[in-house]
Symmetry: C2
Subunit: 210 residues, 2 copies
């Protein structure tokens, strides 16, 4: 068995490419492949949805400087820190923040609500990556009330059985710059894989751009 | 849409129960259901494999006091900290530890090797949860060389396309107290879900034991 990490990744991507049953647009292909790499689940080749131009816009936001906000520490942990650092991106998840818990309690709202409000208050570019909590996604759409701020892009891929399909459908129809995975599947690994694939596709972030 | 987290979880588990196509042993069912809950992927009902008595043995180890070692910070982040605290379990992932990186460099071995060696040097109970790196799993089996220490249990569910199927098959045939997911699928979310399900099934760890 071979153990060189980059060689294993290269070989994995070759296998994925050879088994992909759906023809994919060149712009989205590296993102789909990285999600399949993270899950071994080819159904994402059919379920992932990209708003027109979303990949390019998200990369432009990352190049210009962005805060990547996640809904769980798990998604945050899956994001390549070296790549984020090369882009001077700020990585943030407020869910475990004590001030968020205190504010949520005082106002009688969920922590996810407070986190989403804080993300929307950011003045710079925000990439909101949601792999777990459909409630966070729904709350964000409620707060936006139809607005589609130019400094906001959403990777909305929560996983599960209640509110999840609906939340992702709402995001998909929102007009926001977004990437989603229609249906039940998704997760923190998927959210992190999408963020990583976006970063790796930017010149200079990763030697082989895979 | 309903937003009470425990209500959503209860409803999710009902949906999963109603859609499970494979009859499952009562001992393993809560673990399979929690993995499906984390992935929305029912193929785990067929792919998850439990060594005889593994669930009971792992719970006994957790009750007696155990160190839960993960191969990624992502898996570590997915483990319920409150539940682990109630069991006085130590949570550990050495992959990002500076001393591990230094030792790996000095000896010309991988960081995963050093982490696995450190896990095997533990005197107390060790639950090794591997959701990402088949190399860590393979290295552990090499170091054990057929031994099956009583203080060691392995949750081996790496995901991917190279070495992964083989590593899990090796684990499954090793005679170790183990849980694995045959085939390509797995991941940090799966590893964390299994650890959480093991903890939740212990009386007093979670009110509803779900």
């Amino acid at each position: 068995m071979r153990f060189n990490p980059m060689e294993i990744e290269r070989r994995s991507m070759e296998i994925i490419e050879s088994e992909l049953a759906v023809p994919l647009d060149e712009e989205v292909k590296p993102i789909v492949k990285r999600v399949v790499h993270a899950t071994a689940d080819f159904s994402f080749a059919e379920n992932l949805r990209f708003a027109p131009g979303a990949v390019g816009t998200m990369r432009e936001m990352l190049v210009a400087g962005a805060t990547i906000v996640t809904d769980t520490n798990m998604a945050l942990s899956g994001i390549n820190r070296a790549a984020a650092k090369r882009l001077n991106a700020t990585l943030r998840c407020d869910m475990a923040d004590a001030s968020v818990a205190a504010e949520a309690k005082a106002r009688g709202v969920t922590r996810a609500s407070v986190c989403v409000e804080r993300a929307l208050e950011e003045q710079g570019n925000v990439l909101f990556a949601c792999g777990n909590a459909p409630t966070a996604l729904i709350r964000m759409l409620e707060l936006l009330d139809g607005r589609t701020p130019e400094n906001l892009a959403v990777i909305g891929v929560p996983v599960g059985f209640v509110n999840v399909v609906e939340a992702k459908q709402m995001l998909w129809e929102s007009g926001l710059t977004c990437i989603t995975a229609l249906g039940r599947r998704g997760g923190s690994s998927v959210a992190a894989a999408i963020v990583n694939a976006l970063m790796y596709g930017i010149e200079g972030v990763r030697a082989n751009g895979m």
